[in-house]
Symmetry: C2
Subunit: 169 residues, 2 copies
Amino acid sequence: MYYHLINQMKKGLGQLDHCLAKAITHAQAKGYDPNVLAGMRLAPDQFPLTRQVQTACDTAKLSSARLTGKEAPKHGDEEKTLDELRARIATVIAWLDQLGPADFEGAAERVVSQPRWEGKTMTGADYFVEHALPNFFFHTATTYAILRHNGVDLGKRDYLGALTMHAPT
Amino acid sequence: MYYHLINQMKKGLGQLDHCLAKAITHAQAKGYDPNVLAGMRLAPDQFPLTRQVQTACDTAKLSSARLTGKEAPKHGDEEKTLDELRARIATVIAWLDQLGPADFEGAAERVVSQPRWEGKTMTGADYFVEHALPNFFFHTATTYAILRHNGVDLGKRDYLGALTMHAPT
């Protein structure tokens, strides 16, 4: 199940990349610099698009690292353009690609902590369900909302991606 | 795990209710009708707040019904005020409250379909991970985004709620 859910995050990152690609095409068609969108935000004290994408990437990367005990690749948060954000997404997808179901054995019982938790801990199960999953979707949905608010032609399917459906029997 | 995730949806609905309560207080302090917020949206062709809340409720309600084989309570989508939306959230939380872990046995293997899928099906596992979870968080995060965009003083903790943390050992 953890592997299934991490794969869903990987799919979500692919859809996020797809939304950024549509945003670039939209901006070019309208004749403005697509990277203006990187600084857009829905409220003056909410993170701009760049930070939303970085945080979605980090949530997928760090939660899978914490559930598997593997060391995640490092990123310097220096992206300024949508192309650079897309490149970051690609590195996280590539990292998730090399994780297999066996890597998540015992994930629920792992002890997870973060520096700002001041020594407090969560079980892997609680951390993933209460923190990682809601945060991941929060930041991908907020990125989508920023783009929608700025006129990019997106629909729910761009966010969800294709579903694993079976033909009628 | 399904029960754990449905409980997280229940918690997310509680946080959504908490955000609406803060929105009402905010509007009253600013001297405007809180129910103006019910019609706000981030783009002219995106659903307004009312529909975002209704859809978050329905996703929690219908996905748990589909995974357990139980019949969910019906709602008529007639809410016009934030108080009515809060009442709807309360009925869904009450319904989720009476589901237990045993109700979700075999959830992954259930066959799920919807009228608009034209006879196509998904397994319970794929439906829940690819469709229900991303949609649920999409609509709660978008509700939060609409409120933030309109000046309601919310932070990530209002969305996430309290985390199950353990004291340092």
